[in-house]
């Protein structure tokens, strides 16, 4: 039995890898910003802010990602909004991951002791200053471990953008395999590439977490 895989595929795969990394990092960036805002809205917003935030979160967590992607890419043009495949991909994935990230951020914000906010306000910091300088720096440290799962999930889910004709790793792999009829070999290589990326991300985030670690914050029971 031979492993039917040719090194000449590598440049194409490298191109796909770049697209995968671009899609993942763009949607994660959208998700961080929007996710933090949604979480703050849910925790600190009055009813008129927190309810819409909840609805948003439930909508995006309650419907399939692929459906959301198709609404953006195939559906929005009916309303005169025509986005490129790349923009559609990062928009749909970004809006989706924002909903999941919001819940992680919310949990972390609520894990910061209430006295921290009170102490900050007692010094004369405004609520926004207290959130920015006291609550968020602690919440963001606490959120790293659960949040890294979301980053890994998004890296893997980003493969669905092949369905709107984006040539990410998955798209490129499928093109090569259908041309050379070596689905097994190509997709094994793809799987290994994704696995390597996941490992890199995991190690990277662990390093970041260690770098930002402060005694007494969320590291209890992990053997500091």
């Amino acid at each position: 039995m031979t492993f039917n895989f040719d090194v000449s595929y590598l440049p194409q795969l490298a191109g796909g890898l770049v697209v995968t990394l671009e899609v993942t990092s763009c949607c994660i960036a959208i998700g961080i910003v929007l996710g933090i805002l949604l979480a703050l809205g849910r925790v600190y917003g009055g009813r008129f802010i927190s309810i819409p935030c909840s609805i948003y979160i439930h909508f995006f967590r309650g419907t399939p990602l692929l459906v959301q992607l198709f609404i953006v890419y195939f559906g929005l043009p009916n309303w005169g909004i025509r986005l490129s495949a790349f923009a559609s991909g990062i928009l749909a994935l970004g809006l989706n991951t924002a909903a999941y990230q919001a819940e992680y951020f919310r949990g972390a914000i609520q894990a910061v002791k209430a006295g921290q906010m009170v102490a900050a306000r007692s010094l004369g910091l405004t609520r926004l200053q207290a959130i920015r300088h006291v609550v968020l720096p602690q919440a963001l440290r606490l959120v790293i471990p659960p949040w890294s799962n979301e980053l890994i999930l998004m890296l893997k889910y980003s493969s669905i953008v092949f369905s709107i004709a984006l040539y990410d790793l998955m798209g490129v792999g499928k093109r090569i395999a259908s041309r050379h009829f070596n689905y097994f070999e190509v997709f094994i290589v793809l799987a290994l590439l994704y696995l390597a990326l996941v490992l890199l991300i995991t190690l990277g985030l662990r390093w970041v977490e260690r770098r930002l670690r402060v005694p007494g914050l969320g590291t209890a029971g992990r053997g500091a």
Partner: protein, 250 residues
């Protein structure tokens, strides 16, 4: 001379429970008032109403000629002039002792970083923790944490400091170091309101003791008077009980 702080007829209700039922008092510059009373009587609520960490339902608080309770009061500016020391310290967990003291200076007082550092180091030195400036709260003892939190309040140059049971969360052997710092502050002329069960401190440091129960002030007066010849029988009873528990040796 006008009093520094005037509290007039403060009321506060939580649900159906009226926690403060019309509390009034005044405090002159440089005076220390100790507030005592049974648990659940509204002492913490009263302190929190003074800088509006809790909004009173009724009544007024005046800091010099500024009405703290006015709807349009610049509450953040006012809070920066009123220090608050909490029972469980509430130091910012992610910041070193130095940064805990600096935060208010930089963000509220808009002080430059270098000036803020100098100022913060002065106050850390004053509470005897110069060499702990770089330590995170988790690496400090309770007594040290509370002293940092006093330094954090002092650095803002407050007109008044409110202490809410500052030693109640401390191991007995750490209480002294905190009380000593507070006694020194009183001596240096700081204006303070201290909720505490430490009767020894109350006797030796307070200019006036306020006995509260069920949301009202039962009796207030100089310590000698309250300890020797209280006007209300309940005051004497409470003082005896609390002195037995916490000791009030002269």
């Amino acid at each position: 001379m006008d009093p520094l702080l005037r509290v007039e007829d403060i009321h506060k209700r939580y649900g159906t429970e009226e926690v403060l039922r019309g509390v009034s008092f005044q405090l002159d510059r440089g005076q220390t008032k100790v507030v005592i009373g049974p648990s659940g009587t509204g002492k913490s609520t009263l302190l929190r109403c003074i800088n509006r960490l809790t909004a009173p339902d009724r009544g007024q608080v005046w800091l010099e000629d500024v009405e703290v309770t006015a709807p349009r009061a610049k509450i953040n500016e006012i809070r920066s002039q009123i220090g608050f020391v909490f029972q469980d310290f509430n130091l910012f967990t992610h910041l070193t002792a130095l940064d805990n003291v600096r935060l208010g200076l930089v963000k509220v007082k808009r002080m430059g970083k270098r000036e803020a550092t100098t100022r913060a180091m002065e106050e850390l030195t004053r509470v005897g923790l110069k060499d702990k400036a770089g330590a995170y709260p988790a690496h400090l003892s309770g007594g040290q944490q509370q002293r940092v939190s006093i330094a954090r309040a002092l650095a803002m140059d407050p007109k008044l400091i409110l202490f809410d049971e500052p030693t109640s969360a401390l191991d007995p052997e750490l209480i002294g170091e905190v009380l000593n710092v507070m006694a020194q502050l009183a001596e240096d002329g700081m204006t303070m309101i201290v909720v505490t069960h430490e009767m020894g401190f109350a006797r030796s440091v307070a200019d006036e003791i306020v006995f509260m129960e069920h949301g009202v002030i039962v009796e207030q007066g100089p310590p000698e008077k309250l300890f020797r010849s209280p006007e209300v029988a309940r005051t004497g009873e409470f003082l005896r009980k609390i002195s037995e528990l916490y000791g009030a040796e002269e």
